[in-house]
């Protein structure tokens, strides 16, 4: 970016609400997974004679969004008709809000950038349109278009920012923070790929230091957050070049072509639609009582930015962990339930426990949920107090990493108690060494090259072999015999060339036990492969 010029960006984001029914009729709004045209009625199909009725839940959700973005809420608001003709628009007009939006004059502070406060001009209510699927013609035949009316009438909120964004980083932060807020206040999924969150941008450039806005270009058709930043980068460069070449930027609407990586002119200012807005006569103005607004405000959850700060302060979590945890309201709630379930602890201890809990939630839990598509951690089978048990025992080193993951996996699968799983799977202490025997045998058999490497003088190979035993047995670092064995190979690794892994074990054992005879017997006990553990020489060991 040329420092001679400043970029000015404003975003218009359409957020689909996840209400039970559509904006103006009682059809289900859960169109995403439904067969085409199964969520339709005379109203959303705009059959002659039908009338809209406002979904009061959608109004409440709009107020929620507005309050979460520090907006004022209109005491009286109204709907307007936006008239234009396109086959995805059933009535020939969209019911929207023109000059009196339900929420206005708010702001969003960008996370991690306390100096940048982005103004929110307005939040208004409207309805989605039908989905058209264009089927191109083949062999010279004419193409055709399929129509799915399920989406027509699904509540849409348009969040319009002021032209306060200056960089694509800010744009990215704004979008992801807005998505997070939408999910936090539980009004929508805010998913760009599935179309429940759509972003158009107005971009202009001006000489640095100028306060006048340049001719703005509206960019449409950006379906991923990456597309937004790429399109904006392209557009900023294009406009900068234009200006540097002494040309004027033309006010127009351009579409982003993600494959080619360019914006393409769609509509000039002269061709702009005249939407002929006028007040929707089928819907009386809405009066929004102060008590409703107060009620909604009181029910608003603590928003992610504040919650992140609190997580850092209360539990000493690193900012990264706190931000990740609080990016999902349910995960943050779950986290709080885990840490609150363990009762009083010393501050340092609690902080360590919280950090460990954060690790498990952001790590294993997120991984498992991602694998099976679970989005709400409370929908998993692991209850918070149960996770607290696992985290506690892991923290006390009663379980090693692999074992704890194993326990977690079982808890995730079956919903069983952590203690029960540890008990049943014998993951706590492998006191019965007979379990190790066949495993060690297998490891030796399965890793001849590692055995050869070690015997050839490659010290670290033993680490691999013992690791294999431990992994296969989920054996614990706390197992004294293994632990000592483990330590032993670091000090006594030399001079073992020419010996089998069995010898190595015996050597290790004698190092641990201090006695060759005992070492053989211990090795036999540990590995229970007596018949094969035959020391090839005795004199090497003393």
């Amino acid at each position: 970016m040329d420092t001679q010029y400043e970029t000015v960006i404003g975003l218009e984001v359409h957020v689909q609400l996840r209400t039970h029914s559509k904006m103006f009729c009682s059809c289900g709004a859960d169109y995403q997974l439904m067969p085409p045209n199964t969520r339709v009625c005379p109203v959303c199909l705009a059959l002659p004679g039908t009338l809209p009725v406002v979904n009061s839940r959608a109004v409440e959700d709009a107020i929620k969004i507005g309050l979460a973005l520090n907006c004022k809420v209109a005491e009286t608001t109204k709907f307007d008709r936006k008239n234009y003709a396109y086959p995805d628009l059933m009535k020939g007009y969209q019911i929207s809000q023109y000059d009196v939006p339900i929420c206005y004059d708010g702001y969003m502070d960008l996370p991690g950038d306390p100096s940048s406060r982005i103004g929110i001009e307005r939040v208004h209510m409207e309805e989605d349109v039908a989905r058209l699927i264009h089927i191109p013609g083949q062999d010279g035949e004419a193409g055709h278009t399929l129509m799915d009316v399920n989406r027509a009438g699904v509540p849409l909120m348009e969040v319009v920012s002021r032209p306060d964004l200056r960089t694509t980083d800010q744009v990215e932060a704004y979008i992801s923070n807005l998505q997070m807020i939408i999910r936090y206040i539980d009004v929508g999924t805010a998913n760009m790929e599935e179309g429940s969150f759509r972003c158009d941008a107005n971009v202009s450039i001006r000489p640095a230091g100028s306060t006048k806005l340049g001719a703005k270009v509206e960019i449409k058709n950006m379906n991923r957050i990456r597309a937004v930043t790429r399109a904006l980068e392209y557009e900023i460069a294009r406009q900068t070049e234009d200006v540097k070449a002494g040309n004027r930027v033309v006010q127009e609407t351009r579409g982003w072509d993600d494959e080619v990586g360019v914006t393409v002119s769609q509509r000039s200012k002269e061709d702009a639609h005249d939407y002929r807005y006028f007040p929707e006569p089928d819907l009386p103005p809405l009066r929004i009582g102060a008590s409703l607004v107060d009620h909604i405000r009181s029910e608003l959850p603590e928003l992610p930015a504040l919650r992140k700060d609190r997580f850092q302060q209360s539990w000493g979590l690193p900012e990264y962990d706190a931000a990740l945890l609080t990016s999902s309201r349910t995960t943050a709630d779950y986290f709080e339930q885990v840490v609150r379930s363990v009762g009083a602890m010393a501050k340092g201890e609690m902080s360590a426990f919280a950090k460990e809990t954060a690790n498990w939630l952001n790590g294993e839990m997120a991984r498992h949920m991602n694998n099976d598509g679970t989005t709400n951690v409370f929908d998993t089978r692991i209850r918070p107090e149960n996770l607290a048990v696992l985290v506690g025992r892991f923290g006390r080193r009663e379980l090693n990493n692999a074992g704890a993951k194993q326990v977690f996996g079982e808890m995730y699968r079956s919903g069983a108690d952590a203690d029960d799983v540890i008990e049943q799977q014998g993951l706590q202490q492998v006191s019965d060494t007979s379990e190790l025997d066949p495993v060690a045998d297998e490891v030796i058999q399965a890793n001849p090259s590692a055995v050869r490497d070690y015997l050839g003088g490659k010290k670290t190979a033993v680490r691999f072999l013992v690791g294999q035993v431990m992994k296969a047995t989920r054996a614990l670092e706390a197992e004294p015999l293994m632990k000592e064995l483990f330590e032993y190979r670091f000090t006594e690794g030399n001079g073992l060339a020419g010996h089998s892994f069995g010898n190595l074990f015996i050597a290790a054992m004698s190092g641990v036990t201090g006695n060759f005879e005992q070492a053989v017997s211990e090795s036999s006990r540990v590995l229970k492969v007596t018949g094969r553990i035959v020391p090839s020489t005795l004199w090497t060991f003393g």
Binding site: P42, L45, A46, L47, P48, G49, T50, L51, P52, V53, V54, R81, N83, A85, Y86, P87, M90, K91, G92, Y93, G137, E141, A142, G143, M147, D274, R276, Y277, F278, P281, D282, L283, P284
Partner: protein, 483 residues
């Protein structure tokens, strides 16, 4: 009729005629069973309570067996609903309008759909794609419009009542020109759900009947809250059956004399004066009222109504229902399909109003036309509110002239529009209004007498109307050709 001699057809006639209630009939038989079955033992079960409850239910149906005609802009499930337009030729709605459901629940029988100006745009029913309706009093004349079919059907005895719609006078004007009672209820009194919208903020459904009491009986069924119409009043209507016989002693009726000074046919003025005199004789107090902004009502109406219509009619695009132009070749795009479909589907008057309305809403003109018209609309409402501080109803002729000849004004839309001078105010203000027969011209053409009332005070209009009807020598007049 002696109970012992009751027959199925006799009972049916007695109940239908109101000589006996279904409950009385039922109670008679239940008593007889009680008195005799001890000896006879013909019954194993007697459903005394259930039978009486069912009889009550049947009795409670206020329009049981009453045939009613419905204007063709109101949806009737499975029955063609064309709005008098080619664009909806053969269109059968999959649902009943709220008023139709209510009529059916009340036991009414819908005998048919009546002709109208296309999408209710017109004052003569000449603008129907299916041909004009004739006035039963003079077949070479228009019946008025847009509910011309509904008015003519009642006047000619084809149905005792019909359901019309009134956006700028479309119930009252044809009622006046056909010599029947036509009531436009207060905006919001009757649900518009299922009414093919012309101008949403003005449209209202109401009855056309031969008598005022019948209008009250039908309105009682039509009226009431409807969750499907956000503009419908949440207040249930009062009991309208207790108004009769109408007493007007002390009722104050205001007359906007200034508005009657010009352009009103002398015979219409005479009839208007005679009706007022009759009410005055009955004890009503007649005085002058000033409605200074009513002179702007017609221009305001012809901005607001077409503006809303231009948007309301956008859905008739050939994509989902109704007429779609046959296009040749694959090259034709969706714009061409729209243009051809709408060119073929809509008639001249509808196109004229779509263009007027589109213009009035366009960037650069919106403030000068639509917004300005809405402001004057508020001033007109203020005039009426002020008038109602002093009077209970405002009286005017319904139309400045009696029915004109078919074709007489078809090429002069402005003359046609100016005929709405006395009716459009009630729509712009949302106020209830009724047109009552007020006698005939020398050429035996009906004249209408109109009353406008306070919001939701249809009762006063019906009460005054009933008083006039009882006194009027013309009340039994029927169109000679259909007597």
């Amino acid at each position: 009729m002696a109970p012992g001699a009751w027959t199925v057809t006799g009972i049916r006639a007695a109940v239908a005629g109101g000589d006996l209630s279904a409950r009385e009939v039922c109670a008679h038989y239940l008593d007889r069973i009680a008195a005799t079955d001890g000896r006879l033992h013909a019954f194993t079960t007697v459903l005394r309570e259930a039978a009486l409850a069912r009889a009550d239910e049947v009795d409670a149906r206020p329009l049981l067996g009453v045939p009613i005609a419905v204007k063709d802009v109101i949806c009737t499930r499975g029955v063609p609903t064309t709005a008098g337009s080619r664009i909806l030729a053969g269109y059968r709605p999959p649902y009943d309008a709220t008023v139709v459901s209510r009529l059916l629940d009340a036991g009414a029988v819908i005998v048919g759909k009546t002709n109208c100006d296309e999408f209710a745009m017109g004052s003569s029913t000449e603008h129907s794609a299916y041909g004009p309706t004739r006035n039963p009093w003079a077949l070479d004349r228009i019946p008025g419009g847009s509910s011309g079919g509904a008015a003519a059907a009642v006047a000619a005895g084809q149905a005792p009542a019909s359901i019309g719609t009134d956006t700028g006078g479309s119930i009252r004007q044809p009622a006046a020109l056909c010599g029947v009672v036509g009531l436009k209820p207060t905006y919001g009194r009757v649900s518009r759900y299922g009414l093919l919208a012309f101008a949403s903020s003005l449209d209202q459904i109401g009855p056309l009947t031969w008598t005022v009491a019948d209008a009250a009986a039908v309105l009682q069924v039509l009226a009431g809250p409807d969750p499907r119409d956000a503009t419908a009043s949440t207040e249930p209507p009062p009991d309208l059956s207790r108004l009769f016989p109408g007493n007007v002693r002390g009722t104050r009726i205001g007359v906007p004399r200034v508005a009657l000074a010009d352009g009103v046919d002398p015979e219409v003025l005479d009839a208007f004066g005679a009706a007022l005199a009759m009410l005055s004789d009955r004890g009503a107090e007649v005085c002058d009222v000033d409605l200074p902004h009513m002179q702007y009502a017609v221009p305001v109406y012809y901005l607001v109504a077409p503006a809303e219509a231009s948007s309301n009619l956008a859905r008739y695009d050939g994509v989902r229902y109704g007429h779609r132009a046959k296009l040749d070749g694959a090259a034709a795009g969706v714009s061409e399909m729209y243009a051809r479909t709408r060119s073929e589907g809509f008639g001249a008057e509808v196109k004229r109003r779509i263009m007027l309305g589109t213009y009035a809403l366009s960037a650069g003109y919106y403030d000068a036309y639509y917004v300005h018209a809405q402001r004057v609309r508020s001033l007109i409402r203020n005039d009426f509110d002020r008038a109602f501080a002093a009077v209970d109803a405002v009286a005017m002729p319904t139309t400045p002239t009696p029915a004109f000849r078919i074709g007489e004004r078809i090429d002069d839309p402005l003359a046609m529009y100016l005929g709405d001078v006395f009716t459009v105010s009630a729509n712009l203000t949302g106020l209830p209004a009724i047109s009552l027969p007020a006698g005939l011209t020398q050429a035996r053409l009906p004249i209408g007498f109109q009353l406008v009332g306070r919001p939701f005070d249809e009762a006063t209009l019906l009460r005054i109307g009933d008083a006039l009807e009882r006194d009027a020598p013309w009340s039994d007049e029927r169109p000679p050709a259909f007597a």
